[in-house]
């Protein structure tokens, strides 16, 4: 009797958690397929793909901002990797002067509320003509992404066995060659994880783009925001679902890229 009761309790508890977690997402999905939905109906009155055609018709705003978003995210990943791979290697391997201070500097963008920093960056960019340009937005996203990129890269390099590098050097490989053929391939899964992280952060970033990108750069989050504030819930919901695809995909595959031995060294 007692076990039946506890099973019921457990089941309803999990049901409540499922409702809290999936309820909001379900409501969003319902809006994406609602052609007409008004009070007091609990479900959409007319269902359909009408707004999907509108969002995905050729040369629509959504295609344009999706292209812009992906382009910005790819440039951001490239910039972050170019900066973070050497930095992460030096932090993991070298006897770096002021190591603590340098690590702290890379942590700052996560440790301080960044909104005031963003509009001051916008003010600087306004003076040098970077406001409203792709390059300006990429720079802002790069600073934000560097935190993850540098810390994860440093952890990935720290997890590579140093003896292997030394062995390569002993048989005559140059420092650069041993790095490119031994260290980098071994650290690749961790670097890949940081690249995915930076890509997603850039794709989802709103506040920085809001200040620096206006009026010419419209990314997907900005398009979603505009649609939502204008009360166009279907367009907002469909755009939000597009943004969810890479995020959920990453969640399902995260364990493949981020190995436990790398995770254990983050921040070390």
């Amino acid at each position: 009797m007692r076990s039946v009761l506890s099973t019921i309790l457990r089941g309803s508890g999990l049901g409540a958690v499922a409702f809290v977690v999936f309820g909001p997402i379900t409501n969003l999905a319902l809006w994406a397929f609602a052609v007409q939905w008004y009070f007091p109906y609990k479900l959409p009155v007319v269902w359909g793909f009408k707004y999907w055609y509108e969002v995905f018709k050729p040369r629509s705003d959504a295609w344009e901002s999706l292209t812009t978003s992906v382009l910005i995210a790819l440039f951001t990943v490239a910039a972050c990797l170019v900066l973070a791979v050497p930095a992460g290697y030096a932090i993991a391997r070298g006897r770096l002067p002021w190591r603590g201070g340098i690590l702290l500097a890379f942590l700052l963008p996560q440790a301080i509320p960044s909104i005031a920093v963003y509009f001051n960056v916008a003010r600087i960019f306004y003076g040098v003509g970077l406001n409203g340009t792709i390059a300006g937005v990429v720079l802002v996203h790069t600073v934000h992404g560097l935190v993850f990129a540098v810390w994860i890269a440093a952890a990935a390099f720290a997890a590579v066995d140093r003896e292997l590098e030394l062995a390569a050097r002993n048989v005559g490989a140059s420092a650069l060659r041993s790095f490119l053929t031994v260290t980098l391939p071994l650290a690749a899964p961790g670097i890949m994880a940081s690249a995915i992280f930076v890509f997603l952060e850039s794709l989802d970033e709103f506040t920085g783009t809001y200040f620096v990108g206006v009026p010419d750069v419209t990314t997907l989050p900005l398009l979603m925001f505009t649609a939502s504030v204008a009360g166009n819930y279907q367009i907002a919901a469909i755009t939000a679902l597009i943004l969810l695809v890479p995020s959920v995909g990453f969640m399902l595959f995260i364990e493949r890229f981020l190995k436990a031995d790398v995770l254990a060294k983050v921040g070390g």
Binding site: I112, V121, V140, F206, S228, A236
Partner: protein, 277 residues
């Protein structure tokens, strides 16, 4: 073989330069701008004006962020605790699968989800109406301060729970088993044995969440447009409507000060732990 310190520093330099130029410099700029008037003289007028116009919002922001942090802490302790101490393997697996979902959902998407879910005729009220809990005709929406808290808690709890559950999983099980053999209840084991040992992981997670919530612009704008609102919205308004960098930066400094309080709590708890050891 010994890499030279200079070579290592040169490898870090480009990344460091980007952070200094595009984060530390504008950060310093916001501090200077907050105490400078239009003629360039040093003044505290911006703070006086910010306090006069947005006093309520400052208090409101601090309350929202603190209440959200408290809820996030309690819920992630509960989730982590169930994952470690739960008796049904199947329920643990189900919870582990369930709780992570909001983690990777962008804030702006979370805000849009909640904007529909918590509305007067949103899915939440409709579901409660269907099971007979409320009557949706007389129901109220939650798109105000409550909506902001719900959205923050929904989005940030998985993040802190992930950190806390990780710390709990690496605890020594023997003390837990010993307490269980002595007949201690699960709640008591969680509060008296498990939580004290993972408090530093919990505080790291909560501090990061606290800062994140102070930086998010989309959630307060989309959930609750009206007054009182969070100072992030006020900053955006000062910039977009008046190009008033002085007052906006004064509000920015107030948000740094709130972070400093969080950092102080974090450091103090660390010091207390070292004192104990």
């Amino acid at each position: 073989m010994r890499e030279s310190r200079l070579a290592m520093f040169l490898l870090v330099l480009p990344a460091l330069a980007v952070v200094l130029a595009l984060f530390v410099y504008p950060l310093a700029m916001s501090v200077v701008s907050s105490v400078t008037d239009k003629t360039g003289a040093t003044t505290l007028d911006n703070f006086a004006k910010a306090w006069e116009l947005y006093r309520e919002d400052v208090i409101f922001t601090l309350l929202i962020v603190c209440v959200s942090t408290a809820f996030i802490g309690a819920l992630s302790a509960g989730i982590g605790g169930y994952l470690v101490l739960g008796e049904s393997r199947r329920a643990i697996a189900a919870l582990r699968w369930l709780y992570r979902w909001p983690l990777f959902i962008p804030f702006i998407v979370a805000a849009q989800c909640m904007r529909t879910f918590l509305a007067k005729n949103g899915l939440m009220n409709n579901a409660f109406d269907t099971i007979g809990l409320i009557d949706v005709q007389n129901a109220v929406g939650f798109l105000d301060w409550r909506g902001i808290i719900v959205t923050f808690v929904w989005k940030q709890t998985p993040f802190v729970a992930l950190i806390v559950a990780g710390a709990m999983a690496s605890l020594d099980r023997s003390t837990i088993e010993a307490a269980r053999n002595l007949g201690a209840s699960r709640i008591r084991i969680l509060l008296e044995i498990v939580l004290p040992q993972v408090s530093s992981a919990m505080i790291v997670g909560l501090t990061l969440s606290f800062v994140t919530m102070l930086s998010v612009l989309s959630v307060p704008i989309m959930i609750s447009g009206g007054a009182p609102t969070m100072i992030t919205v006020d900053m955006a308004f000062r910039i977009n409507a008046y190009s008033d960098y002085g007052v906006a930066n004064a509000l920015g400094l107030i948000s740094y000060a709130m972070t400093a309080i969080a950092a102080w709590v974090y450091l103090r708890s660390n010091a207390a732990k070292r004192g104990m050891a």
